[in-house]
């Protein structure tokens, strides 16, 4: 199980993968937006997205768990 955490504080601009999706290491899960900058948050392991904890428009803090990959 790998927890994917937010690399910065900001809002969830786009969710590009869904719960239950099979995902590869390096593939983007969400794109965060903060202070005129968009930062993709990629998966850090191959697997299935067991839980997606955010939806578009949510505010996250740095270190918040975005998804759990199994």
């Amino acid at each position: 199980m790998t927890e994917i955490k937010a690399s910065m504080a900001g809002s969830v601009w786009k969710v590009v993968a869904g719960q239950g999706d099979t995902i590869n290491n390096g593939q983007d899960i969400v794109i965060l937006e903060s202070m005129k900058m968009e930062i993709p948050v990629p998966a850090e392991a191959d697997g299935t997205i067991k839980e997606l904890k955010v939806s578009e428009g949510d505010f996250v803090n740095e270190g918040d768990v975005i998804a759990i990959i199994e």
Binding site: A9, S34, M35, K36, M37, I39, F59, N61
Partner: protein
């Protein structure tokens, strides 16, 4: 002079403009979004109007709401600051049609200089040296490759409507160009509504040096010397200084005269900045013209004693410049650093609640502030929360004062780039004036990422 001016901006630049207006006995009108209700500049203005929700499209870029506030307030003129609507020719036109004086150049010049392809063409015609590149938009990747092979790699791929490094990428070969072309064009389309791309030969080891110009509506134009702004991260400036530690007196003179030539060819009016890339042999090439006040204008003010915002207001009101080129003298050295709410190593934004904000005082130290003690730094806008300017009789003294000030600059609650600024200012290479645009990658990042 104007009796009342509306400032269509936020943060430190709104506060900066309000300060000069007060000095000139001009009443000020601030506009603010819901996120900026508690911002310091709002309190400093004589009047303020809520113009919408936090997102810029619903507030600071909402022309209808801004003009509505202007009408309500009875302001005669609108100062756009920098960023946001400041280089939007459509906004300038709307201001004029609604009966307000737009504090800036004419819509036509803004439109020309806002389109990188048109700007290159205009500069070429004015006899200003430009980087070898495509004079027309490049329509597809095959055409791009043909041009790239003509100029020779590396080339810079750029968005015609771009800014802030968005849609811009250096590419080293056909493969890289193929990969980069479509992505950058798409990105430019979604950011600027215009996916037009063009290509330039990449100037190696460049410095970024710009000339401040000022022109009135009576045919007078002067330059206020250069600013060197080579130290950048993510293609955005971090440290700026005047004069440049690199330029020879003869190149300085050449660049100033070239800038005036450009201003006259454009019939430019108000304050503006012509940005150049300068290589190690001091060849200089037109990069772009900013048809507005620059973030780093304070360093020019410090070494010339001219208040640029005051001059903008006077020119917009129709006054003639009160000085000529020969009256302008450089005196001393000034350095500005931009304080960003961001991680000092990865440069990712770090919005949040300030728990402490204390700025140092001292001789030659100037502050431009967007925040105060317990401000909330929201995620909606640019990460710049303050600017720190140090003036000295010479560069060494300016560096010394800047170093001291940065040591005593205290921000808590969010991450800032202050640790980075301390490293850069204290670096031997900075002291030696080795301020090429690769400075951060070459001298700063290797030291911090090894730890």
């Amino acid at each position: 002079m104007f009796k009342k001016v509306l400032i269509a901006n936020r943060g430190e630049i709104a506060a900066r403009i309000i300060r000069t207006c007060k000095k000139m006995n001009i009443a000020t009108v601030a506009v603010y979004s819901e996120a900026d209700e508690q911002a310091t500049y709002v309190k400093e203005a004589d009047e303020s109007f809520l113009i919408g929700k936090p997102r810029v499209n619903e507030s600071y870029l909402n022309i209808d709401n801004i003009l509505h506030a202007a009408k309500e307030s009875g302001a005669e003129a609108i100062h756009p600051g920098y960023g946001l609507l400041s280089e939007n020719a459509g906004f300038a036109k709307r201001c004029r049609e609604a009966g307000f004086t737009f504090i800036g150049p004419s819509e036509d010049v803004m439109a020309t200089m806002g389109d990188k392809v048109a700007a290159r063409q205009a500069m070429k015609e004015a006899g200003v040296p430009i980087v070898p590149g495509t004079d027309q938009a490049v329509t597809d990747v095959e055409e791009a490759k043909a041009y790239a092979n003509e100029f020779g790699y590396p080339v810079m791929l750029k968005a015609a409507a771009g800014g802030g490094g968005i849609g811009m990428q250096a590419v080293n070969g056909d493969d890289e160009l193929e990969k980069a072309f479509e992505g950058n064009s798409k990105r430019a389309e979604s950011f600027f509504g215009n996916g037009t791309m063009f290509l330039e030969k990449q100037i190696l080891n460049p410095r970024h040096i710009e000339i401040q110009v000022l022109a009135d509506g009576h045919g007078n134009a002067v330059h206020l010397f250069e600013r060197e702004c080579s130290i950048q991260r993510r293609h955005q400036k971090v440290v700026e200084e005047a004069p440049s530690p690199f330029l020879s007196e003869s190149t300085r003179k050449d660049m100033g005269e070239t800038a005036i030539q450009a201003v006259q060819a454009l019939h430019y009016k108000n304050a503006g900045t012509i940005e150049f890339l300068v290589d190690r042999e001091e060849n200089f090439y037109f990069l772009e013209m900013n048809t507005r006040l620059q973030v780093e204008h304070p360093v020019t003010e410090e070494i010339t004693g001219i208040d640029l915002v005051e001059q903008q207001l006077r020119v917009a009101y129709g006054e003639e410049l009160a000085f000529r080129q020969d009256d302008l003298k450089r005196n001393g050295h000034a350095i500005e650093v931009r304080i960003y709410a961001e991680d000092p190593v990865r440069f990712f934004p770090s919005p949040g609640q300030l728990t402490k904000f204390e700025v140092p005082k001292g001789e030659g130290i100037r502050h431009e502030l967007a925040v105060a003690g317990n401000s909330m730094v929201t995620p909606f806008y640019d990460p710049m929360i303050a600017k720190l300017i140090a003036y000295g009789e010479d560069r060494d003294q300016a560096i010394f004062r800047m170093k001291e000030a940065l040591e005593n600059y205290q921000v808590e609650g969010i991450k800032t780039n202050i640790p980075m600024l301390r490293d850069v200012i204290a670096h031997d290479k900075f002291k030696q004036g080795a301020t090429e645009t690769s400075f951060v990658e070459k001298y700063y990042l290797p030291a911090v990422t090894n730890n």
